[in-house]
């Protein structure tokens, strides 16, 4: 049974894209052969070349696809209401959840960011970054102007810190799970709650920490 909507993309093409996305998200570009993709898609290798001129184009298409999907997914995490503090809590929570919901997409895009050798499509990969960043910075600035947040910190830095906390958690969850003192490896909600809590209140008992000797 076909989709009710008239599907623009022929379904063979999408089968290929799905298979390629699946494989490329686990292994690097050169580690995935066209044969493997064809096998996973249940078609012949030659057929892939009917839809894509070469392997690079296919990879690029997969990355563009993943990038757009990831952007849409993360886009939803931005919207929230209530106090700035509430918005921050929601944002952190939903952002991390979005990452964990689609680990394949995230790994795919993130690997492209890290690979120095062949910048195949950093533009795509960086878009999601920009969205999250500007949104978060805007939230923080609003909080500052409203007086709900301190005015003497750099919003961009805090945005980096929060995004980094989530990305790092996503990346190293499997490793973190091995260490006994870590209890939050399987509790992303608890992790984010703790992170935001610390960011808001700080580590020192009073707000009277001596900051004069920062070097």
């Amino acid at each position: 049974m076909a989709d009710l909507l008239p599907v623009i993309e022929c379904e063979g093409r999408q089968r290929i894209l799905a298979a390629a996305e699946d494989l490329f998200s686990d292994k690097a570009f050169d580690a995935v052969s066209m044969n493997a993709i064809a096998l996973q898609a249940g078609i012949s290798k030659a057929n892939i070349y009917h839809y894509f001129p070469n392997k690079d184009a296919l990879y690029l298409a997969v990355l563009r696809d993943a990038s757009q999907n990831l952007r849409a997914l993360l886009h939803d995490a931005v919207h929230a209401h209530g106090t700035i503090v509430d918005v921050l809590r929601h944002f952190a929570r939903r952002h991390l959840q979005a990452l964990l919901d689609r680990p394949q997409l995230v790994r795919l895009v993130w690997r492209e960011i890290l690979e120095k050798g062949a910048p195949r499509a950093q533009e795509f990969a960086e878009q999601g970054f920009a969205d999250m960043f500007t949104a978060l910075v805007a939230v923080l600035k609003t909080g500052q102007s409203r007086g709900e947040l301190r005015g003497d910190f750099d919003p961009a830095l805090v945005a980096t810190l929060l995004l980094g906390a989530n990305v790092f958690f996503f990346q190293s969850r499997d490793i973190l799970r091995h260490y006994p003192p870590i209890t939050f490896a399987d509790d992303p909600a608890g992790y984010d709650a703790g992170v935001v809590e610390i960011l808001l209140r700080g580590l020192v008992p009073e707000s009277s920490v001596d900051t004069s000797h920062i070097r």
Copy 2:
């Protein structure tokens, strides 16, 4: 002129290791051919097989090497003296500096952590993690027991947060540099100072943030 110390490893082997490390840090395992390594090392491909039984063993040796070097490098970042707050500042600063000083090693090890498909040597890669982690957690706990730090936060979580801030900065520096609101992309010291500052003091003006509605 040779080293004054008697070198255990024959120098051919080290040439190979150096070349392989160079190439493997830029491109993934399958994207680096034995031919390329031989070329870069200025020797014949067959000669590589005199020192290493196969490509996997060579890669493993490179990774073990990189892992140990990185560990040694990071190990120095732990030691510091003064108040806990000072130790924390030093730690953050030197940890990030260590990452930035040897980007190749870090990328090499970190890629191994991220790759799901073939866990070639996660053990090696995870060692550095454990070191940093336990050291940081110990510092934080000391701070808590001394009353210099709040007692109601999870030390492991804060350790994750701080380590993540540095790793994330390292990973996405090139991207961060593109965004106008970010001024710290080329100022790791300033970044870490800001991060620690926020961690210590928190984002809210008073320490009276309402935490009753954390979900």
